[in-house]
């Protein structure tokens, strides 16, 4: 797998007039995995999009080495097309890859239009697209949404294989994600400083085994 690295320094994210987080740094190299956890609306998805380069950060910068594969709540497959044809569009864009339908339990659904698939089937279809892309940097936003237990274990296995093959993986999820050697970063809200910042509120990023403290600048993971 091609070389990969993800390096973010002092990220801040603002949506509207709310500061979701600031002073967030992280660094990942080949074979490493990171989970971003936190309650709904805390900025996990925004962080994933900033890391992907799809959303400009309010402050800070992101350096990426290697192609980026993104999973979010949309399968990004043409809804009116049968699954196999919708996936073949991406296979033509990404260059020929192996057909992963059987492994993901989608072999029987190849002729079913994407819009008839269930939430969990769509997520598995999205993973078929991601595997075909063969990007070393995986950014997964709530990858276990709608998946049954067996499919969730499969996704964890896929992520583990990806890391073992020298890829890196960032998972934003409020659900547990079992992966050996995975670090965790927790986005937490805390009350505004005494100075009062109106409706703005700030959250700090810290490692899981630390108590989130109201410090606005936290050192990075590495």
């Amino acid at each position: 797998m091609q070389d990969c690295r993800l390096d973010a320094r002092d990220l801040a994210c603002r949506r509207g007039d709310r500061l979701l987080f600031e002073g967030l740094s992280l660094a990942l190299g080949p074979g490493e995995a990171l989970r971003i956890e936190g309650p709904n609306g805390i900025g996990k998805s925004s962080l994933i999009r900033i890391l992907a380069g799809l959303l400009p950060s309010f402050e800070g910068r992101v350096e990426r080495v290697g192609g980026v594969g993104l999973i979010d709540e949309r399968p990004v497959l043409d809804p009116q097309l049968p699954l196999a044809r919708a996936l073949s569009f991406w296979r033509r864009i990404d260059g020929a890859g192996d057909d992963q339908l059987a492994r993901l339990g989608l072999a029987g659904l190849a002729d079913v239009p994407v819009r008839y698939l269930s939430t969990g089937q769509r997520m598995r279809a999205a993973f078929a697209r991601l595997l075909g892309q063969r990007a070393p940097v995986w950014l997964l936003d709530e990858p276990l949404n709608g998946l049954d237990d067996a499919a969730a274990r499969l996704v964890e296995t896929l992520a583990a294989e990806h890391c073992a093959a020298g890829g890196l993986c960032v998972v934003a999820s409020h659900q547990p994600f079992a992966l050996n050697g995975m670090r965790t970063i927790t986005l937490t809200a805390f009350s505004p400083p005494a100075s009062g910042r109106g409706r703005e509120w700030v959250c700090a990023a810290g490692e899981e085994d630390e108590h989130p403290s109201p410090a606005r600048e936290r050192e990075g993971l590495r």
């Binding site: 992907a52 380069g53 990004v76 043409d78 569009f89 864009i93």
Partner: protein, 219 residues
Amino acid sequence: MTRTLITLLRRDLAMLLVGNRRGGAMLPILFFLAVAMLYPFAVGPDAALLTRTGGGVIWVAALLAAILPLDRLIEPDIELGMFDQWALRGIAEEWIVAVRVLAHWLSFAPTLMLATLPASALLGIDAHTLRLVELGLLAGTPGLAALGVTVAALTAGLGGGAALAGLLVIPLAVPLLIFGAGSLTADGPSGLALTAAVSLVLLALAPFAGGAAVRGARA
């Protein structure tokens, strides 16, 4: 890169021609023919009047027909997340918009020019005027396609984008209409040349304006 662009063009054409439950390529053409059919009913069977005004009516109908598919040019792909995935793969929005202009033009212009033949029969247009109308449409429709995709990109993500897009296209298409329909009067060739010139300007601007608009809609 060429392979990627061809793949994109094939998908765009499949989407625009079939239209997946949003009308497809036939709807604007039927609309265009309906206008050509209704006009003689409205103004009465005065052959001289129809012949004199028919070319202009075809131009107006063509412009309005080109507005119909605007809501499915850009917005569905933004909602699907297609543009995000293309951006991750390093495919520039400018290329995607350029391909989409070509696909949009292919999906409506050739059939529109074909439908102009029965429409001109309905309006009693003579062969000389018909030739000028067809040449004018050939020169003007690429500009209409470029304008349509640009405006579709600008209004994607705004609520009620389709109606707004139509309203925005109409004033911006006025130069095309003036030169295109103007070529039907005395000095034809210069009108055609000016129509083609406006088209070229719009074609040159569309990928950059549309690409920037798509990126703007992302944040």
